[in-house]
Point group: C2
C-alpha cells in the first residue's frame, strides 16, 4: 500500500475500467469483448483489473449496475428540467428518448441486449434487467400519478417507450421516439376525457 493505492485513486481506476467496459460491452455485446480488450481500452493491467473485479461476471454486474443508475438519473434530470404542467413531464420522457436514440453509438437498451445474450444462462443478468425495467416503470408511474392520470396508464406508456427503444435500435432512426410521444399524448388525452373506465 504505497503509492497509487489511496481509496480515491482506486475509485478513479474503477471508473476508468467501467468506462472502457461500458463502451465495449454496450457497443459489441458482452460475450464479444474479452478481458484483454477491456485492459487495452482502459489501460489498466490485467492484474489490477482482477483486483478491482474478481471476475468478468463481477465486471459485467458492475457495468449494469452503474448503467442503471446513470440512465435513470439522466432521465430524471432531463424530466425535472422540462417546463410546463406535470403532463408535459410525461411527454418529456419521450423527448429524452429521442435525444438518446440520436446518439451516434445508440444500440438499444443495454439491459435488453444483455438479457437476450446472457439472461438464460446468468440469473444475475436477468435480475438486473428486471430490476432496471421495474425502476423505469416506477419512475413513470410517479410522473403519471403527479399528472393525476390513471395509474394503469403508466404501464401503457412504458410499453410505448420500450417499443421505441428496440425499434429505434433495429431500424437505426430516432423517429420511434416521436411516434411514441404522439401516441402517449393521445392516450393521456383519452384518459383525461374519461377518467374512470377506458382502461
Amino acid at each position: 500500500m504505497r503509492q497509487g493505492s489511496t481509496t480515491l485513486e482506486l475509485e478513479a481506476t474503477r471508473e476508468r475500467v467501467l468506462d472502457a467496459a461500458e463502451e465495449l460491452y454496450y457497443g459489441r455485446g458482452v460475450q464479444a469483448v474479452g478481458m484483454d480488450a477491456v485492459r487495452t481500452a482502459s489501460g489498466v493491467s490485467l492484474k489490477r483489473l482482477y483486483q478491482l473485479y474478481p471476475s468478468k461476471a463481477a465486471l459485467v454486474e458492475a457495468y449494469l449496475r452503474r448503467r442503471d443508475a446513470r440512465l435513470l438519473d439522466g432521465l430524471a434530470r432531463y424530466v425535472e428540467a422540462a417546463p410546463g404542467p406535470p403532463e408535459e413531464r410525461v411527454a418529456a420522457v419521450f423527448d429524452w428518448l429521442y435525444e438518446w436514440f440520436s446518439e451516434p453509438d445508440y444500440r438499444g437498451c443495454a439491459f435488453i441486449n444483455s438479457y437476450g445474450e446472457l439472461g438464460a444462462t446468468t440469473p444475475e443478468v436477468a435480475a438486473a434487467a428486471r430490476a432496471h425495467k421495474e425502476a423505469f416503470q416506477r419512475y413513470l408511474a410517479g410522473l403519471v400519478e403527479a399528472a393525476d392520470l390513471p395509474a394503469a396508464l403508466a404501464a401503457q406508456l412504458a410499453l410505448l417507450a420500450e417499443g421505441a427503444i428496440t425499434t429505434a435500435a433495429i431500424s437505426g432512426t430516432p423517429e420511434p421516439a416521436r411516434q411514441a410521444r404522439a401516441a402517449a399524448r393521445v392516450l393521456m388525452d383519452a384518459a383525461r376525457g374519461a377518467v374512470g373506465p377506458p382502461l
Copy 2:
C-alpha cells in the same frame, strides 16, 4: 446418392437440425450454443450437419429465416381466423401476442435477442432483424389500412407490440399483451373520432 439421400430426406434432416437449433438458440442464446449441442439435440452427425449448413453462421441465418416466416405466418393465420370487423383483426394481433407470451419457454423476440448479441459483429444478423421488423410493420400497416384507419397508426401499434414483447420477456408475465391491446383500442378509437389530425 444411394439411400437416405433423396431430396426429401435431405429436407427432413434439415428440418430436424433447424428444430434443434431453434430450440437451443432461442432458449439459451446463439453464442451459448455450440455445434456439438446442436448435433446432440438433433441426432445429426457433425459431418452431415456441415454438409447441410457449411458454417454456424449459415445455420444461424437459416434459423432466423425460418423463424421469421413461421412467426408471420402464424400471426397471419391467427388474425385471419379472428371474427368481426377489420378493427377487430388489429386487436387480434395482441391476442396472438398474449398466447405467444404464455408459452412456457417464451423468452422474447429471437430477432431482438440476436440483434443484441450479434448485431454489432454480424451484419447479416442485424439485417435479418431489420427485415423481420419491417415485415411485421408492413403486415400491421395492411391491417390498419383495411380498417380504414390512418396509416400513421400502424407505427404506433407496432411500438406497443414491440414493447409488450420485451416487457413480457423480462417481467415473465403475459400481461403486457393485455395492456398493449387496451392502449391499441384507445388509439384506434381516437383516430376514428378525428380522422385527420391527431397524429
